[in-house]
């Protein structure tokens, strides 16, 4: 192959050379040359979504479940603007994406041409970086550089905006031989003296805790296995954010559950009372910390993160270690082994005894029922009936998402895909499609709410077209349940606009798309219905009719501290718990 080719051919060639096998996209006038170049090859599979937001989330699901970069291709103007939510979602959750957008020809830029928009201007705030390619001579370099930027350091979405004339222009292609980026060189190893300090702090801790996050998953499988090794060496308890679930096995006895707003009583109280917090690839988000001035008041805090701006952003840190999780964890494992000291065994045993007391409060418990399906029970059964399989879980956003996080358990990273930072309803179905593309043989389930699923329901057609047997497990409570819960908590139970009126018949909806529909409302039928869903080798919409007014607990209400949780047996007087400043928060 000569290295002289059109810009459009260069795009496809660069994707191939970057090892891309799947892209998600939607054609239009400004990307026709690239679609034509795709037509002439079969190395890259293009998945035609039904809305560009779907392409972005599908690319996220693909990336998050495979550890690779997710790629999407959309046209100018509305194609580009439709990706904004997905790009922002990927930025917040640090998901590596490449988004290629078509643009009007360079001589028309700035003239309000048909389907022109200032894509780099609009996406500047929702990407890690973006490029407008003004001449074909820059294209190959930018394409390869974009892959480097998306994956290295803290991962994130990168937009490449390519005017149509640049797609047609002839230019020389460059291979992606080792890229030395001019300015962007993230630091991978932690400073040796800081590693030594960290190990000394760990060896003298009496009430330690590992607080881990999505950064461990992002850093790769190596980071997860090193986390397990370090936890094993030290005997410290481990909790994780929503984004980090699976990096440490939920079946391990050192696992104390997720922390944060809907985290376990034991995890949040351990965070509050610890004397040493070791944050690994987590960013002290407000869902995690609750009331900041009451956040873990008595602890020394070590923070390991590849992004220096995450350290000391929200919470004062005693020892910040900038570096990639896998590198720093490797350094910590080695240094901890070498120093040979162990923390005071008696103190650690007393700490674990305290944690067990908190655990005994059984904060994830709920009132069982044999007449109505409790949403927690539905997730528990789903877990029991699928856990032995090769399974990937995505979610939408709301109560069902939190119940999924609480009651579905993960022993491996990259198995759990959810919109954490942005909280995007409509994420789950396209993300499931992306995950299924990356893992054709796996069981991929979107745990959904009846409101969220309608936000990107059009992607059912995509699932059908590519024979992707994704399962949509709707916890149908006929409410925007999380909104309803907050209205109960903050607004006197005035359920303004949170009832899911005029819902479609989900079984018929499934059938209309050519999928399979199941409805279940009796707890006695649930297991059989779930088995039916699993066994059908086609996309399924499972309409699981659950208790309408169940609240998601435990909960740290806004403005409260980790040790001020509302427990499952205390939700009767939820409406009186939040003071005026707390109501101001989200």
């Amino acid at each position: 192959m000569s290295n002289l080719m059109t810009g459009a051919e260069m795009v496809v060639r660069a994707l191939q050379d970057q090892g891309v096998d799947t892209i998600f996209g939607y054609p239009g006038g400004a990307v026709l040359p690239i679609y034509d170049a795709l037509f002439h090859q079969d190395q890259i599979k293009h998945v035609l979504v039904r809305h560009e937001q779907g392409a972005a989330h599908a690319a996220e699901g693909y990336a998050r479940s495979s550890g690779k970069v997710g790629v999407l291709l959309v046209t100018s103007g509305p194609g580009a603007t439709n990706t904004i939510t997905g790009l922002t979602d990927a930025l917040m959750d640090s998901i590596p994406l490449i988004c290629i957008t078509g643009q009007v020809p360079t001589h028309l830029i700035g003239s309000d041409a048909f389907q022109e928009c200032d894509t780099v201007g609009i996406t500047r705030h929702c990407t890690k970086h973006n490029y407008l390619v003004r001449q074909v001579e820059d294209l190959a370099r930018i394409l390869h550089e974009a892959f480097y930027v998306a994956q290295n350091g803290r991962p994130g979405p990168v937009v490449i905006d390519i005017p149509k004339d640049v797609q047609f222009a002839l230019g020389a292609y460059l291979l992606p031989d080792r890229i030395e980026h001019k300015t962007y060189k993230p630091k991978l190893d932690g400073d040796a003296d800081k590693i030594a300090q960290a190990v000394a702090m760990m060896a003298t801790a009496r009430r330690p805790i590992f607080y881990t996050g999505g950064g461990v998953v992002n850093s790769g499988l190596e980071a997860s296995s090193l986390l397990r090794e370090l936890a094993g060496l030290t005997g410290f308890p481990v909790t994780s954010t929503l984004m980090g679930l699976g990096a440490f096995p939920a079946s391990d006895k050192q696992w104390i559950g997720m922390l944060g707003m809907h985290g376990t009583f034991e995890a949040n109280n351990a965070m509050h009372d610890c004397d040493l917090m070791i944050a690994v690839g987590a960013r002290f988000d407000d869902r995690i910390t609750g009331r900041l001035d009451a956040f873990s008041p008595g602890s020394k805090k070590i923070h390991i993160d590849i992004d220096p701006s995450s350290i000391n952003k929200n919470v004062k840190i005693d020892l910040g270690i900038v570096g990639d999780c896998s590198h720093v964890l490797r350094q910590l494992v080695d240094a901890y082994r070498a120093q040979g000291k162990q923390p005071d065994a008696g103190a650690l045993a007393r700490w674990w005894a305290q944690i067990d007391k908190w655990r005994a409060r059984r904060s994830l418990s709920f009132k069982a029922s044999d007449t109505v399906i409790k949403p927690q029970y539905a997730v528990q059964r789903l877990y029991e009936l699928t856990k032995s399989r090769d399974v990937y879980i995505t979610t939408e956003v709301g109560q069902h998402q939190m119940w999924a996080a609480q009651h579905y358990h993960f022993d491996e990273p990259n198995r759990w895909m959810t919109s954490g930072g942005l909280g995007t309803m409509g994420y789950g179905l396209p993300a499931a499609i992306g995950a299924q593309m990356a893992h054709p043989q796996a069981l991929v389930i979107d745990i959904a709410g009846e409101a969220s699923i309608l936000m990107n329901i059009q992607e059912m057609s995509t699932a059908l077209q590519y024979r992707l047997p994704v399962k949509i497990f709707i916890l149908n409570n006929e409410y925007m349940g999380m909104v309803r819960q907050w209205q109960e908590l903050l607004h006197g139970g005035r359920y303004s606009e949170s009832y899911s009126e005029a819902l479609p018949d989900f079984v018929k909806l499934a059938e209309a798309y050519g999928a399979h529909g199941i409805r279940c409302s009796d707890p006695a039928d649930l297991d059989a219905a779930i088995m039916e869903m699993i066994d059908i080798p086609r996309p399924v919409i499972f309409d699981c009719i659950v208790d309408k007014t169940e609240n998601c607990l435990p909960m740290i209400p806004s403005g409260k501290a980790h040790n001020e949780m509302i427990m499952p047996d205390e939700d009767a007087d939820m409406g009186t718990m939040i003071d005026a400043p707390g109501k101001m928060l989200v």
Partner: protein
């Protein structure tokens, strides 16, 4: 630009900036790749995250290397200013961010052009003060002067204040440019 939230505003329980009384003014020097949009990235970062810009100057400083230098005077708590530095470093086309105030020993200068109109005694008084401040006359008409004055921000402020009763018409200022003292680059 974005005024810091008034210290009297109710404190958010999510906010760590309890009592924002220790506001400092710092000068940051930012070396960037001189590519389209880089200034928008920097300015957008400040507006998007609610940081203050007291002054900002930018110009290419090394043509062959495509390097521009942005000098930003910003204000905030020491923690906020540290955060601003780290957030700037996240921008891909940025080579280096230096907090010149933290480093100590930087020289800062601003250039201003000040138009003053008046007749008779006013003109004499304007010229006398300009002489004291070592301002140069770069334009003159029968009823006006334009003075050029270089110095630190305080000196320029003071000169403008003195010109106000005499017949100040308008002012153009460049914003602060700054460089560290001694033989080494930042």
């Amino acid at each position: 630009m974005n005024a810091p939230s008034a210290p009297s505003a109710p404190l958010s329980p999510y906010s760590s900036a309890l009592g924002k009384s220790n506001i400092e003014v710092h000068t940051l020097s930012v070396l960037v790749d001189n590519e389209p949009g880089v200034l928008a990235r920097v300015v957008g970062l400040f507006s998007g995250r609610g940081y203050n810009i007291e002054s900002l100057t930018v110009a290419e400083v090394a043509h062959a290397e495509h390097l521009s230098r942005i000098t930003i005077v910003t204000s905030g708590t020491p923690e906020a200013i540290e955060q601003i530095g780290h957030q700037l470093e996240r921008l891909v086309p940025i080579h280096k961010v230096t907090d010149l105030t933290l480093r100590g020993g930087a020289v800062e200068r601003e250039l201003a052009m000040i138009k003053v109109a008046g007749k008779g005694a006013c003109r004499d008084e304007a010229l006398r003060l300009a002489d004291a401040f070592r301002a140069r006359v770069i334009d003159a008409s029968i009823e006006s002067f334009v003075f050029e004055l270089t110095g630190n921000v305080g000196k320029i402020d003071q000169f403008i204040d003195l010109m106000r009763p005499i017949g100040l018409v308008e002012v153009a200022r460049t914003g602060v440019a700054a460089i560290s003292r001694g033989p080494n680059p930042i």
